[in-house]
Every structure is written in C-alpha cells, then in structure tokens.
C-alpha cells in the first residue's frame, strides 16, 4: 500500500523537526499557559467582583475573545501589536515585536479568556463559608484569595486547566499562518522541499496524537491523586 512513499525523510529530518520545531511549539505552549493562567485568574477575579468597573470590562474581554476565531486574533495581533506598542510608549515608528513575541502575546491573551472561565468556575466551587472563615481571622481580601480560595480553586480545576492546555498545545500549530517554524511549520518546509507531503503530515499527526493522548492519560492519573480529602 505504501509503495512509492519514502518514510526515510522522517528519520533524516527528525533532528531538525524536534530541535527547531518542537522546541518552539513547547516553548510557546508553556509560556502561553503560564501567562494565560496568570491573566485568566486575574480576569476571573475581576469578573466575580461586585464593582461594575471591574466586572464589565473583564466580561466583555472574555466574551469577545471567546467569540472570535483564533486565526483572526493571530492576524490582528501580528499586524496591530507593533502599532499598539508604539502608541503606548509614544514612539513614531511601529515597534518591531517579531513573530515569536507576537505569537506569545497573542496566545497568552487569547487563552487567558478560556482559562478565566475555568478559574471563575473554580473560584465559585469554593464555598462562601471559606471566605468568611478567612475574613473572620482578620485576613485581607488578597490574603484570603491567595491562601484559601485560589489554592482550592486550582486543585478543583487542575484537570480542566490541563485539558485546556492540551487544546492550546494543538492550537499553537496555527502560528503556521505567520510562517513561524513550529513543529508543523518545520514539517511543512521539509515536506515541500522534498516533495513528501503525505509522509510528513502523517508523521506530524502521529506526533501530535501521541503527545496529546499521553497528556490526557496523565490528567486522568492526576485527577485521582490530587483530589482534596473532604
């Protein structure tokens, strides 16, 4: 069935694919996850605030990001970030952000909206009485959040956060549209150079599947290990 295919191209290009492509993909995933969870948590706290000047902007942001296709956001930011940056620091020329930082900022801001919804559910999963108990000890809002609510929210939501991270890992392949050499981009380059499209895209699919599937197994394992004893 596979006569006429040349799977050697994979072995020949593997070092390049992983060293260049996969490194970028994983770096982008890790940075967007960290930033996304950080800003997502802030957004979630804002959305749950009783002050309209906090919850309205946060809600608008989250809903906007969640209703726009990621590819569009990637394009927008790639073209707009240099101008926004210039406007913010008052420079005359657009700032050269570069494709890498442009993609990090885009993914962080996009994923923050999704992580925000997860963290909002997590914060709401912590009983009100826990907050009262914190306040009754004399803890401030910030201390109550940091010591009592967020640790429990994270633990309750860890499986969902990791599942969202798996989706993020797959979504990073969209930086392809900025002709960045992520894992898919690297494979595409080789595929076109050597005329081995089928082999390379099959290989890419297998690699994404293996990584995503093992991560989801890990999530299942973790789910049982970290449950809070109640």
């Amino acid at each position: 069935m596979f006569t006429g295919f040349d799977f050697d191209v994979i072995a020949r290009s593997a070092p390049y694919l992983f060293r260049e492509g996969m490194t970028f993909t994983l770096t982008l995933t890790a940075m967007a996850m960290t930033g996304g969870i950080f800003f997502g948590t802030l957004l979630a706290m804002m959305r749950l605030s009783s002050h309209a000047w906090l919850n309205v902007p946060a809600g608008t942001y989250v809903n906007l990001m969640r209703s726009v296709p990621l590819v569009l956001v990637i394009f927008w930011f790639y073209f707009l970030v240099p101008y926004i940056g210039a406007w913010m620091i008052g420079a005359k020329q657009p700032i050269q952000v570069g494709a890498f930082w442009s993609s990090v900022i885009t993914f962080t801001m996009f994923e923050a909206a999704y992580y925000a919804e997860i963290m909002r559910a997590g914060i709401q999963s912590v009983p009100r009485g826990q907050v009262s108990a914190g306040y009754a000890l004399g803890l401030t809002y910030g201390q109550t959040m940091a010591q009592i609510v967020l640790p429990q929210a994270f633990r309750n939501m860890l499986p969902v956060l990791l599942t969202q991270t798996i989706i993020l890992f797959q979504d990073t392949s969209l930086v392809y549209v900025l002709s960045i050499t992520d894992f898919l981009g690297a494979a595409a380059k080789i595929a076109q150079r050597d005329g081995r499209l089928v082999e390379m895209y099959l290989f890419v699919a297998v690699v994404y599947f293996v990584i995503s599937f093992s991560l989801s197994l890990l999530v299942k394992q973790l789910q049982n290990r970290i449950a809070i004893i109640r």
Binding site: A136, L137, G138, L139, Q147, R155, I228, R230
Partner: protein
C-alpha cells in the same frame, strides 16, 4: 465589650433585623436562641462585619465596626468566630489551619505559631492529629480544631454560630465540653445555639429572638424560670418538652 445599638438590617425590602439593642460585657456568656429564621446567626455575623447592616451601630471594645476609621481586619482578628459548618481549610493540615492567622495576621514567626498551635491542639485533645488534613477528622474533632484556630489569635471575645448543629449527636458533647471550659475560664462569649443544657450550665444571660427582633433579654434564671413573653414561653415549651 460588645454593644448593639438599634441594629437593623434588610435584604432588599425584607427586614431581617429590627432595632436590636443589647450588650455583652467582659467575661459574660450570652446565649442567643430562637426559632430558625429569627435572625440569630445574622445578628452574630454583624459583630465582626461578615454581614453588613444598614442602620444602628455595633461597638466592640470601644471601636465602632461601621466607622470608616476602624480597621475591620484588625478588629476581626481580635474576635474569634466558630461556624456551624466548621470551615476549616481543607487543603491545609490541621496545624497549618491554626498557624495561618497567627503568621499572616499577627505576624508571629513560624516556630512561635507552631508552638502555640500545638499547645491549643493539646488543650482540645487533638495533638495526635496535627499532621492530618481536616477531611480525615470527625465532625466533632473538626469543630474542636476550629475552636483552637480561633483561640490561636488570642481573641478578646468568641462568637459561636450554632457550633453543634451540624454534628452527629454523639459528638455534640466533646465540643460543648471545650466551650464550657472556655466559659468557666472567663472568656467573653456570644453563642447562638439550641443547646439549652449548655445555656443552663454556663450562660449568664439568654437572648431570645423571633422575626428579627430581640423579644427577651434576661438573666438565665429569669429566662428559664419565668419568660415574660408568650413567644419565648411557646419556644421553650417546644424545645424543652418533646
């Protein structure tokens, strides 16, 4: 020590507290009782500002809790509170539950806090459980940890919001014993409870509430001997003889 001056509170247009005026003096044990929905828990939660109120004032140790100049966090740290559903922090070990406020609010060092915590755990008979998580303890044990957590702040008064209502019957006494001991040591206490045995034993005064009003506020002997209001008589007859 704690003075309630004409405290009124509304949820929207529904009035939950109506002109509540009373006081708890230093060293006094005051039991608050009444039918469910009468506003007892709401009243006690007003003392440390967990429930805001719209009218009147509460003065704790000379400080008005609704005044802008009052540092509410500092005031709260001086008033211990024990909740119906314990509200221990499930992600922290028992000893860390007791350390938290000491370290974060009072600024005690880790060792000093831990020593204090272990002393209090010993006092409530739970020093063997220090390294466990709250979920591994029974309800009665959890409530004793919660009392220790409140005592660790060296409070000037203790508030109890139905501390035994969520407990299985066989565990009620182990919690009441700790509370009786506290009362006999002279701790200022305000206790919302249906445990009339506890009230008879250690209370100085009993406040009876119904529909958001303080209907009766009397010395223990008078309250149990000859309650003046019909509502209190009815309530007592219902919970004492069944």
């Amino acid at each position: 020590m704690i003075e309630f001056k004409d405290v009124s509170k509304w949820y929207g247009s529904f009035q939950v507290l109506t002109n509540c005026t009373t006081r708890v003096d230093k060293g006094e044990v005051v039991v608050v009782c009444g039918p469910s929905g009468s506003g007892k828990s709401t009243l006690i939660k007003c003392v440390n500002g967990l429930e805001p109120f719209q009218k009147g004032d509460i003065v704790v140790n000379g400080e008005s809790i609704s005044a802008n100049a009052t540092n509410l966090n500092r005031l709260r740290s001086k008033i211990g509170m024990v909740f119906q559903s314990f509200e221990l922090f499930p992600h922290m070990k028992v000893v860390d539950n007791i350390n938290l406020g000491q370290v974060k609010v009072l600024g005690r060092g880790a060792e000093e806090a831990a020593a204090k915590s272990m002393g209090l755990l010993k006092r409530v008979g739970l020093e063997a459980h220090a390294a466990k998580f709250p979920g591994q303890l029974s309800g009665g044990q959890q409530q004793r940890v919660a009392i220790a957590r409140a005592l660790a702040m060296d409070p000037i008064a203790m508030l109890f919001d139905e501390p035994t209502s969520a407990l299985d019957p066989e565990m009620i006494n182990e919690v009441l014993d700790v509370m009786v001991e506290l009362a006999t040591e002279g701790m200022t206490m305000m206790v919302v409870t249906h445990e009339m045995g506890f009230a008879r034993k250690v209370a100085h005064r009993v406040i009876f509430m119904d529909r958001g009003e303080i209907v009766e506020d009397a010395a223990k002997e008078d309250f149990f001997g000859k309650p003046r209001s019909e509502r209190a008589q009815l309530f007592l007859s219902k919970i004492l003889h069944h």
